[in-house]
Symmetry: C2
Amino acid sequence: MPVTLPAAERTAGATLHEQVYQSLRGAIMCGRFVPGRALTIRGVAAMLGTSLMPVREALRRLVAERALELLANRRVSVPHMTPARLDELCAARLALEPLAAVRALPHVDGTRLAELRQIDAGIDAALAAGEVERYLQLNQLFHLTLYRAGEPQVLIPLIESLWLQFGPFMRATIGRIGASYVLDRHVEALAALERRDPLALRLAIESDIRDGMGSLSHEELLRLYRDAAAPAERSASARE
Amino acid sequence: MPVTLPAAERTAGATLHEQVYQSLRGAIMCGRFVPGRALTIRGVAAMLGTSLMPVREALRRLVAERALELLANRRVSVPHMTPARLDELCAARLALEPLAAVRALPHVDGTRLAELRQIDAGIDAALAAGEVERYLQLNQLFHLTLYRAGEPQVLIPLIESLWLQFGPFMRATIGRIGASYVLDRHVEALAALERRDPLALRLAIESDIRDGMGSLSHEELLRLYRDAAAPAERSASARE
DNA sequence: TCCGGAAACATGTGATCACAATCGGCCGGC
DNA sequence: GCCGGCCGATTGTGATCACATGTTTCCGGA
């Protein structure tokens, strides 16, 4: 079994399938599921101690959000990354996230700016401690906290769908973190926010996304391209 | 009852909830559901002659795609349009669709170009005949047929989500069609495709989207802004 | 040793049912 | 006349079951 799920035992006021959704979403973002390996309804239900129904709904929602892929067998799995999809994801992020940042800028007040600074400090700490998982979580939180200023209703779901597709791959293939941080794009973004400079903010977010792409392990990317040429057989890491 | 659904009787090989999804999606895009009015599972199931289960899954998928909104009561409805949401939808379309078009351009061959020309001819015919519904359908088909060249996997779902949110509102508030067509942006796009000119294509698509926004009935937009100021009471059209 | 087929198993889909929460209308009281 | 609380009807949620499809396993034959 490739994964142990955190047994959604928090009995929040939300519905059961919402809790299952959050558990699965977290597990996906951490790369806990092997791409291509089928996620069975009964399997997830057994891990989380629920019945089939909430799992069905959670899985279907994740498929609609493109976090999971519907196979021909009508089974679901984390989709394999392909060079074309990676390129598209990057292009979509570069189209949407700078836009979201610039639109959020007028609504960023002192409180939110302080919150962003605090998150960025946490990121630096995680980087210094080499805590990859925490770094990725906080990085996502930094971006979403910025974009959420002004309470956008349309852009956030689109961006979250992209992160859901991008996250597990990044988690699995990120190389040495910290190495590529010759320039801290978040500091640039914070400065742009303080100066209320839309263009500088756009550039900082664009650069941050590109840097994120650059931090992918080169050997993983090479394997990706190789696999794309011979898709019949996946490389070793896809095996158990 | 505000709507009669086309009784999903086509027994395609697909799953039942997929057929329900398609029926509901078509009805939503045609503006057949009154925004804010709750769509009940049992009601839809009765209209379509299915049991509750496929309807549940179809509704949940449409909620995930932001075509429907999850109310606090855990009931679903077509969301009301607000000025902020309209602005965001427009910005997202302007960010994603020109990008999708430019990325598709290198993959548009003669066959697809001919297909696009044929759709555009159909659009002109629908415009001349004053068939609003057919015009909107073909317009969507034109855009998606263009974007689908190169088989994008990421951008298409994002754009379809936007159309799903934008479509019902446009269907309900479109003014006199044809009037705003002093310039046919589709012809411009087709010319740009033939010349393989990315910049011209981008401009044509951008202009087409802006023109589409301009074709919204001004009185409807005014009512929208008025309602946004006093959201407690919706205007007459929201009542039965 | 390798291949093919059949049986046992696992899985997704859809239906039906129970139940708690919510909504609607009705009535009584202020 | 208007408001608040009560009761019935409606609704979403979750559980369990039946069934068709697809998958794996195991065994016999070449």
